[in-house]
């Protein structure tokens, strides 16, 4: 029996995830646009961390990601932070690493949650700073932004699922994972 404690692996992966996403948010997000919708790599970071489980860690990642987004954008501070914390909590209700067991389901849940977060974000901004036609908000900002977010979430989930698989099996094939545990028996 070989016991592999992957707590430090998880922490390392979360830190790397945050660094990559934050760098992409600053460097590439301004150039990835459909209509008037921009991709939000901070949201991708929070969702990917939520799928990985790990107690309170996903909540903190969501909080920091949201705060980073708010501080580097032109919108009020705290709004994306709040939405990402709520989304991370809902996505991580079972507190288990879903990314290996059910990556497709993660992507499905992620799609629904992306639509919800982006919609609430746009509607809240519409309340705070009114004067924008609702049609423009829905079809030129909300839908394109949601689509971009989800498209960027896909490779992150797939890569994380693959790396997780390698970690659990020390490079071998993974047949089964143990939700809530950090061990490979």
């Amino acid at each position: 029996m070989m016991i592999v404690n992957d707590q430090s692996q998880r922490t390392r992966r979360v830190v790397i995830l945050c660094v990559i996403c934050f760098a992409l948010q600053l460097a590439l997000a301004p150039f990835i646009v459909i209509g008037a919708g921009h991709v939000n790599f901070c949201l991708v970071c929070a969702f990917a961390a939520a799928f990985m489980g790990g107690g309170s860690t996903p909540l903190w990642v969501a909080f920091i990601s949201g705060l980073f987004f708010d501080l580097t954008s032109t919108t009020p501070v705290g709004l994306m932070t709040l939405l990402l914390v709520l989304a991370a909590f809902v996505l991580n209700l079972g507190d288990r690493d879903r990314i290996l067991d059910e990556p497709v389901r993660c992507l499905r849940d992620g799609a629904v949650m992306v639509l919800g977060v982006e919609l609430l974000y746009q509607l809240m901004l519409l309340i705070v700073e009114p004067g924008v036609p609702i049609f423009d908000v829905l079809f030129l900002r909300w839908l394109p932004a949601s689509l971009l977010d989800w498209l960027c979430l896909v490779p992150f989930v797939l890569v994380l699922a693959r790396t997780k698989s390698d970690v659990l099996t020390l490079g071998g094939s993974a047949k089964q994972s143990f939700p809530g545990k950090r061990y490979k028996l």
Partner: protein
């Protein structure tokens, strides 16, 4: 439902998670509330300023990294040319590209700077030159980040132009960078005038990147291709700066105002140079006659409204829009 069942199933380990969740939600709500309040907003603006300053180099690197892809997009447009032509041109160009690239870049920069200087001289603008280092990072606003801030004398509300025309207005300032809200942002509004017919209105942004010329009454003459410039009303933007070219005009039966869509003439992209207008001279404001003309246009529109609409038309609403037409500008 699922949330309830999951919450009821939370164990001891999950208590900490729930506690963390509640704390973070409360902190987020407090942050959001405070950042929306005018009294505490400056503190958040300062925090944003610090983060903008710290992250500016990464944005700059991102812009640099994106340049080849922007070139690739242009190349895609040339793919439809015949292969023989492309191959011949490729051979000829290969040797020249390397040495020409730098010269072309310098020539383009010189041209842009010359055009900026010309615009500056033509309109006698007191201004500071700046370079665009990034576009908008969120889906809520249309903005750009420039590499000059409060240390260079930039203040919130200052107009920003490029060599072609008005780009936008400074919305946030940090010591070394500034965020400019573009005229194509839906929350932007600039007093405008059609150069040919002198019809006055308000240029407003749209999410599709176009501009709408609002509050131009149906009896005013506006044609496709007309140039629309800033009117100088309101005293925020210098008058005469090009805003857009009219691409469509719709006059519905019984409509008080025309639906006019414009293509903005100034499109700032990364590494473009812009001018931040730091001071307006007396000659750059709208003259008394122009202000009077705008006022008269509003009154005419109100009179037409009362003639052509039914009794349920709200008179107060009419006077409200009239005020906006005669010089409302975003700040």
């Amino acid at each position: 439902m699922a949330l309830n069942s999951s919450l009821s199933g939370l164990g001891k380990n999950d208590d900490g998670r729930l506690r963390t969740f509640i704390v973070l939600v409360v902190v987020s709500i407090v942050l959001f509330t405070l950042s929306c309040r005018p009294e505490t907003k400056p503190a958040f603006d300062a925090a944003k300023g610090i983060s903008q300053t710290i992250t500016a180099p990464v944005r700059y690197v991102g812009t640099l990294a994106s340049l080849p892809f922007q070139g690739l997009a242009n190349m895609m447009g040339n793919i439809t040319a015949p292969e023989s032509t492309l191959s011949e041109l490729r051979d000829q160009n290969e040797q020249l590209i390397a040495e020409n690239a730098l010269l072309k870049e310098q020539a383009l920069a010189a041209e842009r700077l010359e055009a900026l200087l010309e615009l500056k001289n033509t309109h006698e603008l007191t201004s500071v030159g700046a370079r665009v280092i990034s576009g908008s990072v969120d889906s809520a606003t249309s903005s750009i980040t420039i590499d000059k801030g409060s240390l260079d004398g930039i203040e919130v509300g200052m107009p920003v132009t490029d060599s072609l025309g008005l780009v936008g207005q400074v919305a946030e300032v940090t010591p070394t960078t500034s965020i400019v809200r573009l005229i194509t942002d839906e929350r932007s509004g600039v007093s405008a005038i059609v150069q040919e017919s002198r019809a006055q209105g308000q240029a407003e942004g749209a999410a599709d990147g176009s501009l709408r010329l609002a509050l131009v009454s149906s009896d005013q003459k506006v044609e496709v291709g007309d140039l629309v410039v800033t009117s100088g009303l309101g005293g925020v933007f210098p008058k005469g700066l090009p805003l857009g070219v009219v691409t469509s005009v719709n006059r519905g039966n019984g409509d008080l105002y025309q639906t006019i869509i414009m293509r903005p003439v100034a499109l700032s992209s990364p590494f473009d140079e812009v001018l931040v207008v730091t001071e307006l001279s007396d000659g750059q404001h709208a003259s008394a006659e122009e202000a009077e003309a705008a006022e008269r246009q509003d009154i005419d529109a109100s009179q037409n409204a009362s003639k052509s609409t039914d009794e349920d038309v709200d008179e107060g609403e009419d006077s409200g829009t009239g005020d906006a037409a005669s010089g409302g500008e975003s700040s």
